[in-house]
Amino acid sequence: MQIYLPIAEVSVNAFLLLGLGGMVGILSGMFGVGGGFLMTPLLFFIGIPPAVAVATEANQIVASSFSGVLAHFRRRTVDIKMGLVLQAGGLVGAALGVLVFNYLKAMGQVDLLVKLCYVVFLGVVGGLMFIESLNAIRKSKKAGGAPAARRQRSWIHALPLKMRFRTSGLYISVIPPVLVGICVGILAAIMGVGGGFIMVPAMIYILGMPTKVVIGTSLFQIITVTAFTTMLHATTNYTVDIVLAVLLLIGGVIGAQIGTRIGVYMKAEQLRILLALMVLIVCGKLALDLLLTPSELFSLGAGGGH
């Protein structure tokens, strides 16, 4: 069944969009990532104009994250206090990110920088997670499932403005979470994603939060940042396609529910290693696009914009 998208001005198969939404939704629920880093390139691939894909994806992430976070709220795996601190940073970051984005757009290099951002961040994050999870699995096999040693005190514990995060079992300064929020907000706005794939590892490795809490809290933060991004895109670029968003989110919210349930039955290390593999695959694909000779050296854009 073909559907004409009013803002994107292309006609696409509705079932294809439902399927894509569902697939990405499952991953979103399992890993606590918004799925934008997968969905946005997929939308480019089926012919949605990049500006519309990025803006609409933000709206779809709101839906799948909201669906996912409700399930986590019921299981009490959301650190609300930490989430609010991260959100405060995230909003500042998103606003900064949009400024940077518009500056790069004026230079005509936004595509390249977005892709480089993807390759660098996906590569680093995916690689680190993969190695770390492999080590964790090896260790737990040797030690017969003994809990990992508690993190040593680091520079993070020496910072002022300490706050108690009861759900995460942490007593740390608010400065690192706010900084993480800002960084993720900037990247999210530039790369047109929720930022979960950066946030999840940042929470685990920098803030030292327990994996089970990380997913719900990350979803909680993503909702606010992507809702903010959606509004920015809708009011400045008019690129949110509501028909596209509805089709993606119908698939997405159902997928997220299924994904959250699959996630419960899997071990944290297994979840992490799967997420790491997926991140590395997307990274590899994007890197190849930059390195291999493209079949078409020319690209067309709307003129008169500068």
């Binding site: 069944m1 073909q2 559907i3 004409y4 009013p6 803002i7 001005e9 292309v10 006609s11 012919g47 709206n59 779809q60 709101v62 839906a63 799948s64 994250s65 909201f66 669906s67 996912g68 409700l70 399930a71 019921r74 005509g108 290099q109 595509d111 390249l112 809702a227 959606t230 509004m231 895109h233 809708a234 009011t235 400045t236 008019y238 949110v240 509501i242 028909v243 968003a245 509805v246 989110l249 119908i250 919210v253 159902i254 997220a256 529910q257 930059l290 390195l291 000779t293 493209p294 078409e296 050296l297 020319f298 690209s299 067309l300 854009g301 709307a302 003129g303 008169g304 914009g305």
Partner: protein, 254 residues
Amino acid sequence: MRRLLIAALLFALPVQAAEEEVVLGLSQDRVAITANFDGSEILIFGAVKRETPIPDTEPLEVIVTVSGPDHPVLVRRKERKLGIWVNVDSVLVDSAPSFYVVATSAPFDQVLTDIEDLRYRVSIERAIRSVGAAMHIRGAQEFADAVMRVRANEQLYAVRENTVAVDQQTLFRTAIDMPANLTEGDYTARIFLTRSGKVVSSYETTIDVRKVGLERFLFTMSREQPFLYGLMSLAIAIAAGWGASAAFRLLRNN
């Protein structure tokens, strides 16, 4: 492909004191882009009106063009820098139609001479204007060619030779496929009658391509009330997220 047959016969007004004039019919003079729009086919047919007998020189040939609204296009070229492919040069092509199809009754170089092509801007090359192309960039023509190549790959530009049927040098007809990825606007249909490569008569009419119904409503709202539109998108997203969560909980509890 849906074929709407709202026969709207538009009679040609005498443009000049030509001996042969076009009397044109279109299967539809408007294309409505609805939610399930996936392209359209327009039949363009007509007759040649003449007061004098058919000249016994070269046979009559017919060219039909349909073009979308003109827009400037910024074309960028990639080059390998430090191992990766980067946009280096860009050229602003002043004006290129969003859609352009030429249908002819014989091979293009037989129905129209280069001089006439230059005058009437019939071929795709002539329909794209890039007078202001930056002189410092070598091969500015390459950029104009790129517009044609990229759009031809997207089925937006095409030359279809031998697709106009001409009967008795008097009746002609052709079908133009409009793809699903159309943009809104006033499309122009032009018909040229030629003999020995020279245009003897031409006729122009407009095909209205518009979004209608829900498509129109959403498009207008996104432009005129973007804040409300954004809030509506978010409300739908949150409602859908909550709905799915509640539905799944019900399913699991039963």
